[in-house]
Amino acid sequence: MKYIPYALLVGAAALFPYCVQRVFLHTPIEAEMGTAQKIFYFHVPLAWICMLFAVICGIAAGVQLRRRSERAEALAVAAGEMTVLAGVGVLITGPIWGDATWGTPWTGDARQVSTALLWLVFVAYLLVREYGPPNSERIAAALAIFGAIDVPIIYYAVKIWKTTHPQTGVVGSLPQSMWNTLFICLAALMMLSIALVWIRAAQARLAIALDQAWIAADTQQRAAQPA
């Protein structure tokens, strides 16, 4: 179990050069958008990873609220950080792609705005977790749950409102070669993100254990001191 994240990191490191080679040498150039469409193969998986870890963070935060589980708390923090990280990737690569194809980096459409909102909510979650007063983890958990609720809004934004983003079924309509490349890139990014979340969750659990050990050591020392 200890070596799983490192095995995933090695797997991702091996897969990334193949992804780039496949994207640029073995996948056809999209007729309308041209070469800029190659951003799609990492932009879309990053968006999926962002939404997936937002949901995982929300669920883990809910479990933490109910059961006061340290494991859930560690997972929630790690998933929250991955949501912010992938969110940065999506919110930067999206406007770069938009600038190349739409002629403007930001159209302010519902999917862009709801994704930016998700990112801000999880930034707030991490800030409250890191700098909040004692017992603020309950407020943080509530924020994470609120953020997770934004995920279906992002997904259905293109159906509910008129947006410049393509419809949700666009991935299914891709030619086989593009579809294969997309899922290989998704596999590489997923391996990397799971490995990083795993390592971060282990660090969060160790941090909790260390805090408790320091408190116990201080208590022991004070008890041993003569009055």
């Binding site: 190349a100 660090q203 941090a207």
Partner: protein, 98 residues
Amino acid sequence: MDELNVFEQPEQPEQAQASTEAPGEAPGTTKVEGRDPATVRLKRAYEAEVENKVASDYSHIVWAYGVIWAIFAIYGAILWRRASAQRADLAALQAKHK
């Protein structure tokens, strides 16, 4: 890209014309078709437009991919530093217990 090929005139008729001099032309000259300046200018304009689009696309791709790798590299470095700090914290705790 295929639409650019519209301006590529088939070579064979030209070659065929070169061998048979049309009546009414000056001796030693042949009529060249499909190479008039307007067509050449249009073709060059198309080529320049495509070249600009490809160059612009490449710069956008380099930025996008660079940002993705940079984000993950920075996060990896942060995790590495956190792990080092925790190892130091653990060592301090163990030293206190001794």
